[in-house]
Symmetry: C2
Subunit: 334 residues, 2 copies
C-alpha cells in the first residue's frame, strides 16, 4: 500500500483562481490490478490550458472533477508494474496526477531516454509546449522569409519556441511579454527582433505600428483580448492566425468580445485556426525529428522556472495565470 | 462619339446608403485607342460586396471613386472593337461600369456563349456568386455526409447555390432568410432541410438548437452579427466557417463585435477563413466544369429578381442591402 500526497480540485473558480480552489490530501492508493503500474512523479508541468479545465465548459476535454486530483503533463518513474509494456525503473512521460504517486494503466504514457536531455526538458522544449509551438507555427502560421510574425506571451513555454521557429524560418519576429526582463531575454537570447512589455505599453496599436511597419502575416495567439484586437487590425492580406490560447479570457467573468469588425476576415482573407496539439499525435515523430535536432544542435534556447515541491504547485499555478513565471513552469515533485 | 448614361458615386455613405450617394449622368465617351473596345451593357449584377467599396476601407480592392461610375459584374455586347481578342457582336462578361456603355481594354473580360444559358445566368448560377458559393463550400466548409451546414442569407445569389451544393454533398442544410416566402422557396425548391425567418424568429439560439440538434459543422457566413454569434456558439469540434460576407456590418456605424468568447475557436478547433473569389481565378475551370454540369443536368435551381432599366439600379441596390430582393438581383440595362 502506498500513500500518495495529491492535490485535488476543491471547488470550481469563478473569475480568478484562488488558493482555496485546491486542497492537498493524502490518499491510500489501491493495490495494482493487472495492466496497472505505480508511477512516482518527478516533474509536473503547469500550463495555462489547465485553467479552462477547472471550469465546466463544453469542450472535447472533460473538466477536472471536484474532489479528484488535477492532472498534468509529467515525468515520472515506474516504481511497481503489472503492465507488460513498462518495467520498474522506466522513466515515462504523459499525464499524471498532481501527486507524488499515480496508479496508471499506461495508456498515453511513453518511455523517455534520460541520456537525451535533462528530464524536465521533456515537459518543455522537447515536450507538449514545444510540440504546440511547432504545430501552430509550422502548420498554421507558415511564415515565409521576410514576413512578419507576432507572438503573444513571447517567453512562455510555448511562445519562446514559436518565436524561435519563426525566426529560423526567416521571418521578422515581434513579441510581447509581461516585464522588461522577459523582453530582454526574448531579444538577446531567443532572437526576437523586438519584444514589448504589454504592461507598460498601453497603446498596443502604436507600438505594433512601430515594430511591425509592414503589418503582420502570422500571429501565434496565446493571449486574446486587447492585444489580439490590435494585432488583428494589423494583419496583412492572406494572414494566418494560429489560435493556441486566450489566457486573458480564462479568468475574466466578462471577457472582451472578439474584434469589432469581423468583416476584416473577408477583406484581408484571413485564416484563423484554433488547435489543440493532442489532436496531432500523428505528427509527433516529425516534431521530435525536427525540434529534437534543433535542440541537439544548440539552435533552440529555452528558459524555465522550477518550483520545488508539490505543495507549491497551486501557488505557482496562480502565478502562472498572472505571468509571474519566466519561461516554462515546472514543479519538481520528487 | 457615344454618349453613355452612367451612375456615379456622388458621395460616400456613412451608415445606411441613401439615394443621394448616387448620381445619374450622361458622359461623352472618348474615341477608342488601340486595344480598347466599346461594350454595351445588357445586364448588371448588384451584389452586397459593393457596399464596402462605397466606403474608404483598407482593403485589397480599391474603393469606388467619388464622381466616377461604380462598376459591377456585367454581361455586355461589343459594339466597336480595336482589341484583337474581341470582335463586334461578341458577348462578354466581366466588370463594366454601371452604365449603358463602357470603354474597356478587355482585361478581365471573357466571351460567353449565348447558347449555353440565358445571358443573365452568367451573373448568377454560372457566374461570380455561384463561383463564390462553390469555392467557399467546396474548399472551406467541405461538408461530409451526415454533417450539418448552416447558410445565412439562404436564398441570396450566393447562399442559394451554397445550400444546394452542401445538400448535394449529403449534409443536413439549414438556412435563414428575411421573409417566409424566401424560406418556403429554400425548402421546397432549393432542398434546404429547414430555413427560418430571421426577422420573425428573435431567439436565433433557440431556433438553431431545434433545427441543428447535432450542432453545426460548416457555416457559410454571409451576414455576421447576431446570427453569426448564435451559429458560432453552436459550432462542433473541427467546424469550418467560410467567411464570405458580413452584410449586417456594412451599413452599421457601430457594428456588433465578434463573438464573446474567442477561446471557443481553440476549444472546438474551429477554422475561420475569409475569402474573395477573385483570388481563385485558377479554379475557374474546375468551377465551370462542376457547376456547369449541375446546371445542365437540372440539379441546381436558381431564383433571380430582374429590375428593368439602369436608372433603377440605385434603388434596387438599397433594397438589396435590406434584403428586399429575392435571389440574384440583376438589372436589365439595355
Amino acid at each position: 500500500m502506498t500513500d500518495a500526497t495529491q492535490i485535488v480540485l476543491a471547488k470550481r473558480p469563478v473569475g480568478d483562481v484562488t488558493a482555496d480552489c485546491f486542497r492537498q490530501e493524502t490518499a491510500r492508493l489501491p493495490a495494482l490490478n493487472d495492466g496497472e503500474m505505480l508511477v512516482a512523479s518527478r516533474f509536473l508541468s503547469l500550463d495555462p490550458y489547465m485553467r479552462p479545465r477547472m471550469s465546466e465548459l463544453r469542450s472535447y476535454v472533460p473538466p477536472f472533477e471536484i474532489g479528484k486530483p488535477l492532472t498534468g503533463g509529467s515525468v515520472g518513474e515506474v516504481v511497481e508494474s503489472r503492465n507488460p509494456r513498462f518495467a520498474k525503473g522506466d522513466l515515462v512521460m504523459g499525464l499524471l496526477n498532481w501527486a507524488t504517486h499515480t496508479v496508471h494503466d499506461g495508456k498515453g504514457l511513453r518511455k523517455i531516454d534520460p541520456a537525451m536531455a535533462p528530464l524536465q526538458a521533456h515537459l518543455g522544449v522537447l515536450g507538449m509546449p514545444s510540440f504546440t509551438a511547432w504545430y501552430g507555427m509550422k502548420h498554421i502560421c507558415r511564415p515565409k522569409d521576410g514576413e512578419t510574425v507576432f507572438v503573444s506571451a513571447a517567453t512562455g513555454a510555448v511562445g519562446q519556441v514559436a518565436g524561435q521557429l519563426a525566426k529560423l524560418a526567416g521571418a521578422r519576429v515581434v513579441g510581447c511579454a509581461g516585464d522588461d526582463q522577459k523582453c530582454q531575454w526574448a531579444v538577446r537570447e531567443a532572437g526576437y527582433d523586438a519584444c514589448f512589455n504589454h504592461r507598460s505599453e498601453h497603446d498596443t496599436g502604436a507600438v505594433l505600428d512601430k515594430l511591425c511597419p509592414k503589418g503582420i502575416d502570422g500571429d501565434f495567439e496565446n493571449v486574446g483580448g486587447r492585444i489580439f484586437h490590435a494585432v488583428f487590425e494589423r494583419m496583412n492580406n492572406f494572414g494566418r492566425i494560429a489560435f493556441c490560447g486566450a489566457i486573458s479570457e480564462y479568468q475574466d467573468k466578462d471577457p472582451l468580445a472578439g474584434p469589432p469588425k469581423m468583416f476584416t476576415i473577408v477583406q484581408r482573407r484571413l485564416t484563423i485556426q484554433g488547435f489543440i496539439v493532442s489532436d496531432q499525435a500523428a505528427l509527433l515523430g516529425d516534431f521530435v525529428n525536427e525540434v529534437g535536432g534543433l535542440v541537439k544542435a544548440g539552435k533552440l534556447k529555452s528558459r524555465e522556472t522550477v518550483v520545488d515541491g508539490l505543495a507549491r504547485a497551486p501557488t505557482a499555478f496562480l502565478g502562472l495565470l498572472k505571468g509571474e513565471n519566466f519561461g516554462k513552469l515546472i514543479v519538481k515533485v520528487g
